[in-house]
């Protein structure tokens, strides 16, 4: 039985401007013990999909199961298995860290949970903040508490919605160490959305990419990387590229990146650049990474969707 099963999930929001289709028939399964990445540009529907899973939003059609429990009709059983770290940095200003964790534990009906609460505080570097009021914590510390709150009832499925947005390097390391441990040692299933593609590449065994409410890629991370068999030619320049190169290039400020399958193509691109008066500096060739694949997938999907429209 899959840990999480999205079955033809659609979500339509009605607004003054008409209907907004946030999700259009999303279907995929996440197996128990997987570290699964959900990627997509802003507005692709990632957070909506997680909200449907968490019961914060109701799907317009379709259904979502957590270990076979329907998140709508059997919501209590489903939510007990889910630990969700929300994207927004929210907190209750009335209480301190330990109180917040005790309450969250109690809402799930878990009693005598002090040992696990201490372990969470220790593992997430919060031990010396246990008595501090939530208001006094820095943003990074509040983020750690959010993670601890999501894990306090020992859920078998952990959902992290952009947990590292605006978070310093140290916390990122602590967080990934802790979550990877839960995944490897305790067999927890992890569903992660992130904008940091190198994070997804390093952590996730399998990845789904969403675009405009639809799944446009669903494969193991290694499979996805293999798909981008090409290398990338990267150089810096101050001049404008000729049109034929500009059409396939990714330009970030002075940095130009172009797919190049082999040495011949590298030579051809550099020759074309020289012809058109482009002076290439700091030239390097690297393996394609998840970011290249991501951009590829999104562009292909845009073409396909454009062709259909």
């Amino acid at each position: 039985m899959p840990a999480v099963s999205f079955q033809n999930v659609s979500k339509v929001y009605l607004s003054a401007h008409g209907e907004l289709h946030a999700l259009k028939g999303v279907s995929f399964d996440i197996e128990p013990g997987e570290f699964f990445g959900l990627l997509g540009p802003n507005g692709a529907g990632k957070t909506t999909l997680i909200s449907v899973l968490a019961g914060l939003t109701r799907a317009s059609t379709g259904r979502v199961l957590v270990h076979g429990k329907n998140v709508q009709t059997d919501y209590q059983a489903a939510r007990r298995q889910l630990g969700v770290v929300p994207q927004e940095l929210v907190f209750d200003p009335f209480f301190n860290v330990r109180e917040a964790l005790r309450f969250q534990s109690g809402y799930f009906g878990v009693r005598h949970n002090e040992a696990w609460i201490d372990e969470l505080l220790e593992g997430l570097g919060l031990a010396d903040k246990a008595g501090a009021n939530m208001r006094q914590l820095s943003g990074g510390m509040k983020r750690r508490v959010l993670v601890a709150q999501a894990l306090v009832h020992k859920p078998p499925v952990i959902v992290l919605d952009e947990p590292t947005a605006g978070v310093d390097v140290e916390l990122r390391q602590t967080l990934w160490q802790f979550v990877s441990d839960l995944n490897k040692r305790q067999g927890c299933t992890v569903l992660l959305t992130t904008h940091y593609l190198e994070e997804a590449e390093a952590l996730c065994g399998r990845i789904a990419m969403l675009r405009q409410g639809q799944v446009v890629a669903l494969e193991s991370t290694s499979e996805l990387l293999r798909r981008a068999s090409s290398n990338v030619l990267r150089f810096k320049t101050d001049q404008a590229l000729p049109d034929d190169l500009a059409a396939v290039a990714r330009v970030t400020g002075r940095v130009v990146q172009l797919p190049a399958h082999d040495a011949l193509e590298v030579e051809r691109i550099l020759a074309r650049a020289r012809e058109s008066g482009v002076l290439a500096q700091d030239i390097e060739i690297r393996k394609a990474d998840l970011e290249d694949v991501f951009i590829d997938v999104m562009e292909n999907a845009a073409h396909a969707q454009g062709a259909l429209a």
Partner: protein, 251 residues
Amino acid sequence: MTGWQTLFYKEVLRFWKVGFQTVAAPVITAILYMMIFGHVLEGRVQVYETVSYTAFLLPGLVMMSVLQNAFANSSSSLIQSKIMGNLVFLLLTPLSHRAWFVAYVGSSVVRGLAVGIGVMLVTWWFAQPPFVAPLWILAFALLGAALLGALGLIAGLWAEKFDQMAAFQNFIIMPMTFLSGVFYSIHSLPDFWQRVSHLNPFFYMIDGFRYGFFGVSDVSPWLSLALVAGALAVVSAVALHLLRIGYKIRH
């Protein structure tokens, strides 16, 4: 603790931690009413033959404080959680709509009674009304606080901004409590306004509560009890329904 007990405890702790504004402040307000109205009207207004005005005023003030604070508790807790965004911690839990209801209304009753007892203790110095029928006092205090707690729950779910909540409080709750016979017997009103007062559910809560002290009231306490219990049943049903469908809290 089970789920609803935890939420109930958290809600009680929430107002207790800021007890200076949630309990002490309304007690001070009630003392001011007592001093001013008692001073101005004592000897000039005689509502029941054997009862001084100040003694008459005391139960009304106590009940008014109970009702207003029961309402304030659930409504302000919910609107704050909605605006701060921390309501999500509850929305992610397996707590049922009944658990939410019991916890929010229960903690409102506790705050209402805490303030009511506080007002009673400090105004005791001004007048000592008899306790003719304590069970009636308790029954109306509990039912009234629960009714306003449930109403606060509805208002807290409905309101999206603090000013909507303030409007609910200033344009509905305040006039209805002030015009319910806290400061006067409705028998002293012109016929038309007497009939209007009979449409105000707050009137029955105050009147029935006062009956417990003096054994006299404007209408039969049984009628008041039936109406207050009926209102509580209707408001509770609405509140439970809104919680079940996740009105304005789940999309």
